[in-house]
């Protein structure tokens, strides 16, 4: 390398460059979802006075721990410009394998490790399909979802694994400093994920791959490896989320997680991460998760039926995506 090259500043530029467009408008919309969250919390407290009670908040978070962990992985995938529809199946596989292996070996720890291993395998498969073979992520993960789900059913012979061993429930039922372990796990994964995405070179490369694939490649990034890595990450997180829920219920079965993929995607998008890739953040997903959890909790406490929840969730996703597309069309 030419280490002697000295890049000293050029002579003063002749004229100042014309100013770019003001960055005011994006700054306002950047934090819009926090406003929505605050408004929702105020509404929830008004309609249901017990909303902010510690017990309710704990339940709210516990019910959404699994989907939150899955949404964290989905954040990476979506920022990299991809999509993962197989997380629901991987979640179910994680639940099944952890319970099944815990039963057959008598060791909950081995169960958890086996589930995480299964998640890695699912992720590598998805990553290979998308990054190496070049299948559209939507189609690739739709297909792999069916395969993974099939494996979970075959492994469990379509019957639930019921684990009586109390140690199996430690993961979900214990507490750390009187905070339930799953909530601690959720918080820790979000902090680690947030740091990885915002403050490491790996995170920046993920943004680059999603923002401009070609530029990343021309910059010498291993674009295929980076793309594959996010699917491995979601695979692991989804399988781990399944493990937590299996531990909470003491049961691992293959017919769970049908809504998890859509819910996780909804959480990511509602937080303001763009489906087009290259933009977004983990804190946004945290906001999205809280909005989502508050809504679910509110529906529940108001005794509204599942059907209304389904309808409302879908509508919210469409509004969020619609706003994103609309603002981009106006920009270009």
């Amino acid at each position: 390398m030419n280490s002697s090259t000295d890049l000293s500043p050029a002579a003063p530029a002749a004229a100042a460059a014309p100013a770019g467009r003001p960055a005011f408008a994006p700054a306002v919309s950047r934090f819009a979802m926090i406003g929505v969250l605050v408004a929702l919390v105020v509404l929830a407290t008004a309609l249901y006075p017990g909303f902010l009670s510690p017990a309710n908040l704990r339940d709210l978070l516990l019910q959404n721990t699994a989907v939150g962990i899955v949404a964290l992985g989905m954040t990476f995938v979506i920022i990299s410009g991809g999509f993962d529809l197989s997380v629901g199946a991987t979640y179910a596989l994680g639940a099944t394998v952890s319970a099944g292996v815990a039963l057959s070996t008598g060791s909950p720890v081995l169960g958890i490790l086996a589930a995480v291993g299964a998640g890695v395998v699912c992720g590598i498969a998805n990553g290979t399909l998308v990054a190496r073979i070049g299948i559209n992520p939507f189609v690739a993960t739709l297909g792999s979802a069916s395969v993974i789900s099939g494996i979970a059913y075959l492994y469990s012979s379509s019957a639930p694994f019921i684990v009586a061993d109390p140690n199996f429930k430690i993961l979900a039922r214990s507490s750390v400093a009187s905070i339930p372990t799953p909530i601690v796990v959720l918080a820790v994964t979000f902090v680690v994920g947030g740091v990885a995405l915002a403050m490491t070179r790996y995170g920046r490369n993920i943004y680059a791959v999603g923002g401009n694939h070609e530029a990343g490649w021309l910059s010498g990034l291993r674009v295929k490896d980076l793309t594959a890595s996010v699917y491995v990450l979601t695979g692991v997180l989804a399988a781990f989320a399944g493990t937590i829920d299996a531990s909470r219920l003491g049961v691992g079965q293959a017919d769970v997680g049908a809504n998890i993929a859509l819910d996780a995607i909804a959480i990511v998008i509602v937080g303001g991460t763009s489906l087009r890739g290259g933009e977004g953040a983990v804190w946004r997903t945290a906001v999205g998760l809280l909005i989502f959890a508050t809504l679910t909790n509110l529906f529940y406490s108001l005794n509204l039926s599942q059907n209304w929840q389904l309808l409302a969730k879908g509508a919210i996703v469409l509004v969020a995506v619609g706003l994103d597309s609309w603002s981009r069309n106006r920009r270009s």
């Binding site: 390398m1 030419n2 280490s3 002697s4 090259t5 000295d6 890049l7 000293s8 500043p9 050029a10 002579a11 003063p12 530029a13 002749a14 004229a15 100042a16 460059a17 014309p18 770019g20 467009r21 960055a23 403050m199 490491t200 070179r201 790996y202 920046r204 490369n205 943004y207 680059a208 923002g211 401009n212 070609e214 530029a215 990343g216 490649w217 021309l218 910059s219 010498g220 990034l221 291993r222 290259g278 933009e279």
Partner: protein, 511 residues
């Protein structure tokens, strides 16, 4: 320099009339107030160097782009712009370089795309077949109606595209570089079809780099340069030399000065660089401190050549020496970067992550240091290198999307200079940026060379390359037709353009 258009004032409405049409793309002026009149029934050629604004003007005429200022009229109807349907409704049909065929449909179905004939609510298959054969007959085209579009040659697809236009009652046919992708004998077919159409009274507007066909086919020729109409005149008033002269023009003030430092040792030498169908046995040698310019028309292979040297064309091959040492031909950009050879790509849109700030773009792809980012140190380092390229360091924090073209180019150059490479392969560093930024960018390249870097640079702006290069390679049809040193008497615009415009045949003779 605007010669008055020679045509006599006429009472009939012109087919197309642009008055003061102007178009600006994110700060850079593509067309600056063009006045062009196309008379009904004539063949009108638009010529100019790369980036002269021909395609943009064509876009405004065809209604694809809205003029920011001025008016565009088709048969007296003023276009609002931004909607191709508008001019189509007035009988204007555009055939772009990217053809709009549906590959899985038959030739016939493609001709009637969006304009199927029906009888009693059902497709009128027989009527369409009759009309298709009629059109083929009329234009003397032979494409089987049932052939799938994807099995047809570019030339045949182009014919279908023209037939589609005629079927929609097109009275003006606009063609963007219609012969660029055609072989010699296919060109002849197109010329014949165009002549048939003219005989039927169709107005034709086309853009071309091929001066022979321009002089052959046209009634009127308009030359554009730097977004302005330099001269629009009848064919009889043009000769090949006057066309070239008007296209290239003369820049009065020099943008940058060539370095006076001596060249050092050979840094990079590539022999027999090939890419099947694109590059044919190209050799190049660059020494430290030297700037080697590459010039050629669009499609001459200079960009592909640079990309091949940088590992961005895995299908290319050649023998490469770096610092005199034989190394394997690069198959990835990453490999080249490790060897100290970097590519500064042509398209800033492709090469920068537009949503990221300048600092992050600057650091993208760098592999030294731990996994965690040190924002403070990054900013300092980026600012220092950006300063070398006269970039205002306070703007490094802004998303590069919000920067002007010139500033984006400076970020891009700084990013690659940050790798401290030995060889810079720089593609079109001044395209679409304003004159002040151009001077800064060119000067910074000379300074890079003075610091000991070996620089290979392409530009469609010949004067710019001539101003800073120590040597020039002239590209035509995927080969180097001439290598000219800066002290050679041929190191001037006229001689270089003559070589660059050499046709395929003379190309063979040169080798």
């Amino acid at each position: 320099m605007n010669d008055p258009t020679p045509q006599a004032p006429t009472t009939s409405t012109p087919a197309i009339a642009c008055r003061g049409a102007r178009k600006v793309f994110s700060g850079s002026v593509a067309v600056a107030g063009a006045d062009v009149v196309v008379r009904t029934g004539e063949v009108h050629a638009l010529v100019g160097e790369n980036g002269a604004g021909k395609s943009t003007l064509l876009g405004m005429i065809s209604g694809r782009l809205a003029a920011d200022d001025g008016t565009v009229e088709v048969f007296g109807h003023r276009l609002q712009g931004g909607n191709p349907r508008e001019s189509r409704d007035h009988g204007l049909v555009a055939v772009y370089q990217e053809l709009t065929m549906v590959p899985g449909l038959t030739a016939e179905a493609n001709v009637f795309l969006g304009q199927v004939r029906t009888r009693r609510g059902l497709l009128d298959a027989r009527g369409m077949r009759r009309r298709y054969l009629e059109l083929c007959d009329e234009l003397d085209i032979h494409v089987p109606p049932t052939a799938l579009a994807r099995d047809l040659s570019v030339s045949q697809q182009q014919m279908l595209e023209i037939m589609r236009g005629i079927e929609s009652n097109g009275r003006i046919l606009v063609l963007d570089e219609p012969t660029a992708a055609l072989a010699e004998h296919e060109r002849e077919v197109l010329y014949r079809v165009l002549r048939t159409l003219t005989a039927r009274g169709t107005t034709i507007v086309f853009v071309s780099h091929n001066l022979d066909e321009v002089l052959d086919l046209s009634d009127t020729i308009t030359v554009l340069r730097d977004g302005q109409v330099v001269r629009s005149a009848a064919r009889a008033d043009w000769t090949r030399p006057t066309l070239i002269e008007h296209m290239v023009g003369r820049t009065v003030d020099k943008l940058a000065e060539r370095g006076t430092h001596p060249a050092g040792a050979e840094v990079l030498s590539a022999r027999s660089v090939r890419l099947p169908g694109v590059l044919h046995d190209i050799d190049v040698t660059v020494r430290a401190g030297e700037i080697v310019g590459l010039w050629g028309l669009v499609g001459s292979g200079r960009t592909t050549f640079l990309r091949s040297l940088a590992g961005a064309e895995p299908a290319s091959s050649g023998d490469l020496r770096i610092h005199g040492e034989e190394v394997a031909w690069p198959r990835t950009v990453r490999r080249s970067i490790d060897r100290g050879v970097v590519l500064v790509p042509e398209s800033r849109k492709e090469a920068l992550v537009l949503g990221m700030d300048g600092t992050s773009n600057f650091w993208l792809g760098r592999r030294r240091g731990g996994p965690f980012l040190d924002r403070g140190a990054e900013r300092e380092d980026a600012a220092e290198t950006a300063g070398f390229f006269a970039f205002d360091r306070s703007r490094l924090g802004a998303p590069v999307r919000t920067l002007s073209g010139g500033n984006q180019q400076k970020v891009l150059l700084a990013k690659w200079a940050g790798h401290r490479p030995d060889v810079f392969l720089i593609d079109e560093p001044t395209r679409g940026i304003d004159i002040g930024a151009k001077a800064e960018v060119l000067t910074s390249l000379v300074r890079l060379a003075a610091e000991g870097a070996a620089v290979v640079v392409t530009s469609s702006e010949l004067e710019e390359v001539l101003a800073i290069a120590n040597r020039l390679l002239v590209f035509a049809h995927g080969s180097v037709v001439r290598e000219i040193a800066s002290d050679d008497p041929e190191f001037n615009v006229d001689a270089v353009v003559r070589h660059g415009f050499s046709t395929g045949d003379t190309d063979e003779l040169v080798h």
